[in-house]
Amino acid sequence: MRADTLALASAEVARARAGDLEALEHIYRAYQAPVYNLGRRICGNEEDAEDVLQDTFLEVCRSIGRFRGDGSLWSWVRRVAVSKALMLLRRERYRAARSLDGGADLSETVGRRPPEPTAPIDLETALGRLAPLTRAVLWLHDVEGYTHEEIGEAMGKTASFSKSQLSRAHQRLREWLE
């Protein structure tokens, strides 16, 4: 079932907004899978995805009183999750950039890329080979349905940046999947 079709009773959400831990747990149970998957796809590994899951719901528990109900709860939770995942990516990039003594293209710094494959690879493997920011843009745009403007805003960059990263992602996939 898609996360955006999950309906939580408004009474449940109201109880959660009032700080009811049981209601908050119901929200967690409803959205844990899509949030974890989002974290896993953006960050690319289990450990970071688990951090995204935990940080997202800590933030949800802390801030749900500010959810005014003018959009779907999933949209709000997803926005928090994307923010947490990108924050984690940014932290990793800074760490990597520092260890590389700076100067490198930050969108390419996390994890030294393995050598180019000599034979076609599957989509899952190809996704894992993309630079983290490039992969994040690809996932947010092509799967989550974010616009380039929304991605640019979430990343603190421009819509053009998002477009160029998406183009780069598909260029790479084209080379690797053929």
């Binding site: 935990q54 500010r66 947490k84 998406l166």
Partner: protein, 207 residues
């Protein structure tokens, strides 16, 4: 007759997403190179959306619930909010009625003493004013982007930590200069938090 060059990746993606020009669309319809390329982009998007889901780990909620519980406990124990309001109310009572018995070293007494003292009083009151201001902004607050969310979380965590240190410092009878310094740091963090919220609200107003 002019021969149109093949479409680049940017143009093909724009075409797939319904943002391309009519000329590009017409080209892709008849071009034996660009047509299949466009089809391939549709195919990859479908395959991405069909990738299998991962099963989330089981033990995360208990950790979240424990942290939320700890945070709430700290908030309750810390200065500010209801504790301080209660202390202020008690202080009013003491002023009106005078001490009924020998002062005891209860937490409320210590709060009253600090909130009304000449050295800590002003900074504590400033802290309360900022908390009130935050209450005004809080219902509107949203997460707009990662840098803002990071900054807000870091400041809020800093305040929770300072509350805890204040609590423990008072429990061990730390000197007034240290307490004043801690309160000062708390006020600084709150001012930054208020300022960030104000910028967010201003940005929202311009959208």
């Amino acid at each position: 007759m002019a021969v149109m060059r093949h479409l680049g990746m940017d143009e093909l993606l724009a075409l797939r997403d319904g943002e391309a020009t009519a000329l590009a669309r017409a080209h892709a319809e008849f071009c034996e190179t660009c047509g299949p390329e466009l089809e391939r982009l549709y195919q990859i998007r479908s395959e991405l959306r069909a990738l299998p889901s991962f099963r989330p780990p089981r033990e995360v909620w208990p950790r979240v619930a424990e942290k939320v519980g700890r945070r709430r406990l700290r908030r309750r124990l810390a200065y500010g909010g209801l504790g301080l309001a209660a202390a202020a109310a008690l202080a009013g009572l003491v002023v009106l009625r005078g001490p009924l018995r020998e002062p005891a070293a209860s937490p409320a007494d210590v709060w009253i003493a600090e909130a009304t003292s000449t050295d800590l009083g002003p900074v504590i009151n400033r802290s309360r004013q900022l908390e009130t201001l935050l209450e005004v902004y809080s219902p509107q607050r949203r997460v707009y982007d990662a840098p803002t969310a990071l900054a807000l979380s870091a400041l809020e965590d800093r305040i929770v930590l300072l509350d805890q240190i204040l609590l423990e410092s008072r429990a061990v009878g730390a000197d007034r200069a240290l307490l004043r310094g801690l309160w000062g740091e708390r006020v600084q963090a709150l001012e930054q938090l208020v300022s960030l919220q104000a910028v967010q609200e201003e940005n929202r107003a311009w959208r």
